[in-house]
Symmetry: C2
Subunit: 316 residues, 2 copies
């Protein structure tokens, strides 16, 4: 019981720091799906995506005062800010050709950036070099890690409070950390809501894994516009949870992802990154399935380059 | 006392329908101002701006089942949706050259659109024609109306709940309806927070009015990018409240308005219309005044054309 208590104390400590998700209802989104839609937006989470939940949880639990992670995206920003709040140091390994705005964001949040020329040295290799250089440091995985799942489970707890009003939750799937966390949080709160994963058709390894009953690995990094879902496979821990806890995986075409980002912008004033548009895109693409249902769509993050964003929302 | 009770019942009825404002903290916005900044965003209010508070309040209180208003912008959408929730009819008079997306939005929210060729017939003239045609209808002013101020005062009540943590509120000023409502709501809740108005330098009639001690009228409609502040003067009712309740009016240049929209987008993932950027623009422009203070910036709405928005956020 002591470990359960400690675990609950940990979750309470995380919930005291993270920002509760932003719940948005828009009559015009309902009209588009033909269902009652609640948007659960993580775009205003500190550092702009749900990853801060995971990063803060992992940084808080780690006994190390120096944390290392490979991330060119949202996890790097989340861990940098989490570490700075906890007076720890975060070293984020990023490809040398990452967008300047992303490198700048990690630094602004207090992180130390290690650029690697990924054609010469892999990110994993550089991470392990740094781990040898700093034996007191801990390497944190962005998605396949119990503390990461625990951090993300706080979103499930929050949504469980709406369980009486909603039938299902749709959530973007990349490495599966958010989905696994969401399932755990809903279960812990005793919520009966169904969980659907939304995955790019171009990166449908989770769908194929569920069909095959084992983890299927993509051939290389899939070139979907949803860069948060460009993972080569589900994490092991996440897979175990998804297998038993997910209702189905819904595949979303690239066009449907862009349409979702555009609809969220035009009809609900929401800035979403492409990965963040996956769940609403799935709701529209599978509208027959959700007709007259009450569904929650998770918008996982809002960090997107201005140029790409304007290209998407400017299309007719 | 009966009338006070009725008035409180009315405000409770409004608060039961409108969406509470969205409170956003962003470490990177704090850094830009050198102060603790809380964004109070009305961009997710139903119909995308604070105007729904005003419109619902006016539509609820009106005994008429048919409502008429002249509005090319946010009030039209707000009144159309408010009327549809109350099973009333809303007729919105709009210039025939209004953006198609705005005409479409009013219709989607259930409003009936009356287009006028404003070079031939003024909007006021068409409104009065319609009023004669429908003697049972009530004409609703978008900003100089007690029920409009009452509706907007609900935002003041919400912010008063944060009064212990914040020193001042900055709010966009156009016709003054939002500012007047905010002042009334804060006073009713006994909040000591100071209220600053943020006004485009190009449309600074409120500033000049306060300096002169009487309402000053702009020569024609000012061509500021903040289209919600293109009013020719403060409303009479609003003026009386502003005179005693406002700390100061802060003038914001066109560049500073655009910079604010861009910063809200890039650093806080928030889609704001130009008028919505006024308060944060004022916080940055007057950062010496607010150094190390704790301030709330109201983002009044998020309805902006895609093309204009991308031109603003794409500038370096």
């Amino acid at each position: 019981m002591k470990s359960l208590d400690q675990s609950l104390d940990h979750l309470t400590a995380v919930r005291n720091v993270i920002r509760p998700t932003t719940l948005i209802r828009s009559p015009r989104l309902d009209e588009l799906v033909g269902a009652q839609v609640l948007i659960a937006s993580e775009t205003f989470q500190y550092t702009g995506s749900f990853k801060f939940r995971a990063a803060y949880s992992a940084a808080l639990r780690s006994p190390a005062s120096r944390l290392i992670a490979a991330s060119s995206g949202n996890f790097g920003q989340g861990l940098a800010y989490a570490a700075s709040l906890l007076n720890k140091e975060a070293i984020i390994v990023m490809p040398h050709n990452s967008a300047a705005v992303k490198i700048d964001a990690v630094r602004r949040f207090g992180g130390k950036v290690e650029l690697v020329e990924t054609l010469k040295v892999s990110r994993a290799q550089r991470v392990s070099e740094l781990a040898s250089q700093y034996p007191d440091a801990q390497v944190i995985s962005a998605y396949d890690h119990d503390d990461v799942i625990a951090g993300n489970s706080t979103l499930g707890e929050e949504l469980a409070e709406r369980a009486g009003e909603y039938d299902a939750v749709i959530v973007p799937v990349g490495g599966g950390g958010l989905t696994a966390g969401l399932i755990c949080g809903l279960m812990r709160a005793g919520s009966p809501m169904e969980v659907y994963g939304a995955e790019p058709l171009l990166a449908n390894d989770a769908k194929r894994s569920l069909d095959a009953g084992k983890i299927i690995v993509n051939d290389g990094e899939p070139q979907t516009i949803a860069d948060g879902a460009r993972t080569v496979s589900l994490g092991q821990r996440n897979w175990a949870i998804l297998q038993s806890g997910i209702k189905a995986i819904l595949e979303v075409s690239e066009d449907a992802i862009e349409d979702a980002v555009r609809s969220l912008f035009r009809l609900a004033n929401l800035k979403s990154e492409p990965t963040g548009g996956l769940a609403f895109g799935a709701a529209v693409a599978y509208k027959d399935k959700f007709k007259d249902k009450r569904i929650i769509c998770v918008v996982s993050g809002g960090n997107v380059d201005t140029e790409l964003f304007c290209r998407i929302i400017g299309r007719e």
